[in-house]
């Protein structure tokens, strides 16, 4: 036993060294980004090899916050991501409950039809969705992102899987006691689906918050943009002001990292659930 632990501890330290190396590769761009955000562009261009700022400056941040509607972009992103998350959780759990607990004609066919849509790349559907959004006169509004984003095939699949694990006796007993289907959904199904809802919500929020292609197609006015789109717009408008672009990038990335660190347990658990289901 003694020899086993001894050999083990060598392996342990070796693993630790390798992992730390990879970890450094992962954080290095963040460190560079944050430090560059406190440097003037002139300084970055003249001393590319220097990593630490020579003269610390908040000029980049001032430029982003005063010369661009950054706050408006942030609010737009928040509205879109929160609305999509709430809607997807609602539609997926309700439809998942119906598909798991009720029988109706064409049920399996409908379910597989929705599932099959997951196989189809967004490149096929984006053009028709763009035209439908145009028909509904939603182009260049936040609704153009929220309404098509309100349903998710993956969400339906995940929620149906979880609903099927809930014993039929629970929902049937409530139905016999005179509770309506919506009542059963709200007071029995939703509380029991909490781990599933948490995972789905995290996923949906991240995806909506980071989405770039959809806003790129659907939005054109500067004040309507969401953060990822606005960053590219800002970057193109201030091509030669690297310090400001890095400040904008930091402002977008740092809050997300703080949220990740605060909710790390939920994040890891949520992703693990979806991977092993």
């Amino acid at each position: 036993m003694a020899t086993l632990t001894k050999r083990n501890s060598w392996g342990q330290y070796l693993s630790l060294i390798i992992l730390s190396g990879v970890a450094l590769f992962i954080i290095a761009p963040y460190i560079w980004m944050v430090l560059a955000s406190f440097r003037s562009t002139q300084e970055i261009v003249q001393n590319p090899g220097v990593i630490l700022p020579i003269d610390w400056t908040l000029e980049g941040y001032r430029n982003v916050l005063t010369n661009a509607p950054f706050f408006q972009w942030f609010i737009n992103s928040l509205i879109v991501a929160l609305s999509i998350t709430a809607l997807v959780v609602f539609t997926s759990t309700l439809a998942g409950f119906v598909f798991a607990k009720f029988d109706f004609r064409g049920k399996e066919g409908l379910f597989w039809l929705v599932l099959a849509t997951m196989m189809v790349p967004y490149q096929i559907t984006m053009i028709p969705i763009f035209l439908i959004v145009g028909r509904l006169h939603l182009y260049d509004t936040l609704w153009a992102l929220i309404i098509p984003g309100a349903v998710s095939a993956f969400g339906l699949y995940l929620c149906r899987q979880f609903c099927e694990e809930i014993p039929d006796s629970l929902s049937e007993a409530a139905l016999i006691d005179g509770a309506g289907p919506m009542r059963v959904y709200w007071s029995i199904i939703v509380p029991l689906l909490r781990p599933c809802i948490a995972a789905l919500a995290i996923f949906t929020f991240l995806e909506a918050w980071n989405e770039y292609l959809k806003p790129l197609i659907m939005l054109s006015q500067v004040e309507r943009m969401t953060l990822p789109l606005s960053l590219v717009f800002f970057g193109n408008a201030h091509k030669h002001d690297i310090g400001s672009v890095m400040s904008a990038a930091s402002l977008i990335m740092i809050p997300a990292i703080i949220v990740l660190l605060l909710f790390q347990k939920q994040f890891i658990k949520g992703i693990s659930i979806t991977g092993t289901k």
Binding site: P48, L94, T117, N210, F267, S272
Partner: protein, 282 residues
Amino acid sequence: MLLPILLLYFTFLVLPIGAGFVMSFFDYNPLQAQNDFVGMANFSKLLDDPIFFKALRNTLYFVFGTVPLNIIITLIIAQLISSLQWSKLRASFRVLFFMPCIAPLVASSMVWKQMYNVRYGVINSLLERFLSIQPINWLGTQSLVIPSVILFTLWADMGYNIIIFSAGMDGIPHDFYEAAEIDGAGPITRFFNITLPLLGRTLSFVIAMTFISHFQMFAQFQVLATKGGPNNSGTVLTYLIYKIAFQNKNMGYASAIAIALFLLIMVFTIVQQRINRVDWGY
């Protein structure tokens, strides 16, 4: 209550797919007054379009260059993390490796674009200082655009797989490893004979999802390979579809390319499922 929801599913998930297929048979342009049915014309145009084939080649180069590396590296990292005895460190490493996944891909692409810059990029200046390598024009050289995007994408997209693999590995009973160790199996034998086979289903799922998602990647190409890169060397199918549909407004032809992309993904997924069944069927 259910009817409006079903209507949403239909309008935004099912209908657009049908419409996408139908559009590929039309000369559809939203600026035209009349959009004619052209039969297979979009598809025959496709077969004569050198840029389409270039984009197809670049897409395959990118996907097959990135995904196998991603799977191998994330498997090794997940195994190393799972073997650590300090549980706090295990959790910290997982969160740390996941960090790039929560940032918008475009935002990290913009940071990397500065790092790749020929004159003042941090990568060139480090290479010059420590290895005395002359500045390399990463994003401006035809043969280096895709490799640069591959390196970036590996950095940006390993987190998910590491976490899913770790979760799968944590589910493998510890006794298996101890028994194998007593029988004299080294860490590499244990990895190939215990971890991989028992990870079978998760592995197959992750490989399929990673391939599918990489075929559809777009943001980093738009940012890193400006306007498709020099001589279209960074043009992939997703970028070509976007450009033709929304800049040239030639939506019928763009739909035809999108269907080619779909067929590529589908054929690929079927083949991958077959291979995996042979390997891991137990």
